[in-house]
């Protein structure tokens, strides 16, 4: 089985968020970047488990500049076989998806896995767009994935329950909690990752359709109102008359 896993970077959640260039750019200075958790913990690890059980290969792909190399090396250290970086600082999800689709097009991947969303822009867009461009079926927010022969069985949470789905390969799947358990790369993996092939590919020329023109921090929250533990009637009263939520 040939599996492609889409890997993106994300600022560590504890990072301080600030902007530069007249609030038109995210200030990456002093920001610690990590592998987007959904991509690493769920998509990548499940891909590796499937390969270990059934044979095949796991390729990672990222769209971005060379600042992505450490992120991709980490994914290789966890166990991916090889990687391709499409050398473009993409402006939006469509441009990212179009580049990944152009790369994946004739390579015969059986599964294309992504994370459920990137934790910085929270769009949940890239996977569906890749599926559409490649005319493949798409299952979002999967919490379980099994493959038998050329048939994938997928579970996902829906309002009030879980849905079990079936689909012939190839298929695009976005992965969420439940898929797999996080793996910490070991020393051997880290050493091996240094020599694994990481190809740099020039972009195909897909255009973005949207662009961020301004960033803004939310208004500061007012100070917390402290209420004594035996004044719960007072709290209920405030929730009713002041906050107007009950």
């Amino acid at each position: 089985m040939k599996i492609l896993v889409c890997i993106s970077k994300a600022p560590d959640t504890t990072s301080k968020i600030s902007f530069t260039d007249g609030d038109t750019r995210f200030n990456e200075d002093k920001v610690q970047f990590i592998v987007n958790p959904y991509d690493e913990w769920y998509a990548l690890v499940r891909a590796l488990e499937l390969k270990e059980a059934q044979g095949g290969s796991v390729t990672i792909v990222s769209v971005g500049g060379n600042d992505l190399d450490p992120i991709m090396r980490k994914a290789l250290a966890i166990g991916a076989d090889d990687g391709a970086r499409i050398n473009l600082n993409a402006t939006d999800a469509f441009q990212t998806a179009a580049e990944i689709a152009a790369y994946a097009k004739d390579k015969g991947f059986d599964l294309i896995l992504t994370g459920k969303e990137t934790i910085d822009y929270n769009g949940s867009q890239v996977a569906g767009m890749i599926a559409e461009i490649l005319s493949l079926p798409y299952v979002s927010v999967a919490s379980k994935l099994d493959v038998s022969g050329s048939l994938a069985t997928i579970e996902r949470d829906i309002t009030g329950g879980t849905e079990v789905l079936e689909c012939a390969l190839p298929v695009v799947i976005s992965c969420a909690k439940g898929m797999a358990e996080q793996r910490i790369p070991n020393m051997r993996g880290i050493m091996a990752a240094r020599t694994k092939p990481l190809q740099v590919i020039e972009p195909s020329g897909a255009q973005a359709l949207t662009k961020v023109v301004k960033y803004q921090l939310p208004a500061e929250k007012g100070a917390v109102k402290i209420i004594a533990g035996d004044q719960m009637d007072e709290l209920v009263n405030l929730l009713h008359t002041e906050a107007k939520v009950i």
């Binding site: 958790p37 822009y121 599926a131 309002t159 359709l209 949207t210 960033y215 917390v224």
Partner: protein
């Protein structure tokens, strides 16, 4: 120029945020001087469809034969409705269906998509911009959409729909649709008579401070008194004290209820990422230094084992007299 709203339905009922997206779409239609059409599917009662007129729809197209939430089938339904109406702006809810269909439709039509918008777009003769939350709610970004065709999915709970009198005409809409390649094999429903967490207006949540699963009775009592759903922090779901679908935060689900009550949760940034869109936050914690107090509107420095039952009693008293 007209606006199309794609309203998803489930078991014969329109999705919860339908009124919000119809109202939102009607505000855009008014701005650009066009009419608003809604497209939906399934066995939704006619009554619920005509009353979308109250929120600004002039026409509702309904496809009665679609009965699953298949990505390709729904995308072709949306694409056919775009063709039929000539709409230049399409609105979705940023919910499970919207997250599947909007990106596919965007790629099909070459339309710029802003996913998870939180406010109405600013429309000028040469620009179309709309804002959304980024960095897990820690900032807003304003996006410009360059393409001629534009798609917005609206974060639930972002606008308050205002209703007026109006009634929409309902038309059956049965174009040829794509055949689903993903098949639904089975639906397992969770046996819970409670309120689904993503839809709840009030959520009572607890963390490791509750010490063990046997102590959740006081959390459930308060939830019951308030008509609330229950949630939990990640470690609590990981150690199996609570089911996984209750886990909120960066790696669980993100919610935006009107009222979020957190007991025995420290307020780690990854937890806040899933709840900081809540309108009002109440925090109960023994530690006055707990980071959650910085994100709270009301705080009680105290023992959840004492405070929760008192709060439940106060809520019951309030409900009985109102």
């Amino acid at each position: 120029m007209s606006v199309l709203v794609f309203a998803d339905s489930h078991n014969g009922k329109l999705a919860k945020s339908t009124h919000e997206i119809v109202y939102y779409g009607s505000q855009i239609a008014a701005k650009i001087g066009g009419s608003l059409t809604v497209v939906t599917y399934g066995s939704v009662e006619n009554n619920s469809l005509t009353m979308l007129g109250n929120f600004g729809a002039s026409k509702v197209l309904v496809n009665k034969s679609v009965n699953t939430d298949n990505d390709e089938q729904l995308t072709s339904l949306a694409a056919e409705a775009v063709k039929f109406t000539g709409a230049k702006v399409v609105i979705f809810a940023f919910d499970q269906i919207g997250k599947i269909v909007a990106p596919r439709l965007a790629a099909r039509l070459g339309a710029g998509l802003v996913a998870g918008a939180t406010a109405l777009p600013e429309i000028n003769h040469d620009s179309f911009t709309v804002s959304k939350n980024v960095f897990s709610g820690k900032a807003y970004a304003t996006y410009a959409i360059h393409s001629d065709m534009k798609i917005i999915s609206l974060l639930p709970n972002s606008v308050k729909p205002v209703s007026s009198s109006g009634s929409a005409s309902v038309e059956e809409f049965s174009p040829a649709l794509a055949t689903p390649r993903v098949r639904v094999k089975e639906v397992k429903s969770i046996s819970s008579d409670g309120i689904p967490l993503p839809e709840a207006e009030i959520v009572v949540s607890a963390g490791r401070g509750l010490k063990g699963p046997e102590n959740w009775g006081i959390v459930e009592d308060l939830a019951k008194a308030l008509g609330a759903a229950t949630a939990c922090s990640r470690p609590v779901a990981d150690i199996g004290w609570r089911p996984h679908h209750e886990h909120v935060g960066q790696t669980g689900i993100a919610i935006r209820p009107n009222l979020y009550i957190a007991a025995g949760i420290s307020g780690a940034i990854q937890h806040l990422a899933g709840v900081n869109g809540s309108k009002t936050i109440v925090v109960i914690n023994t530690d006055p230094e707990a980071p959650f107090f910085k994100a709270a509107d009301y705080g009680i420095i105290g023992d959840a084992f004492e405070v929760l039952p008192k709060l439940t009693a106060a809520v019951q008293k309030f409900k009985a007299s109102n």
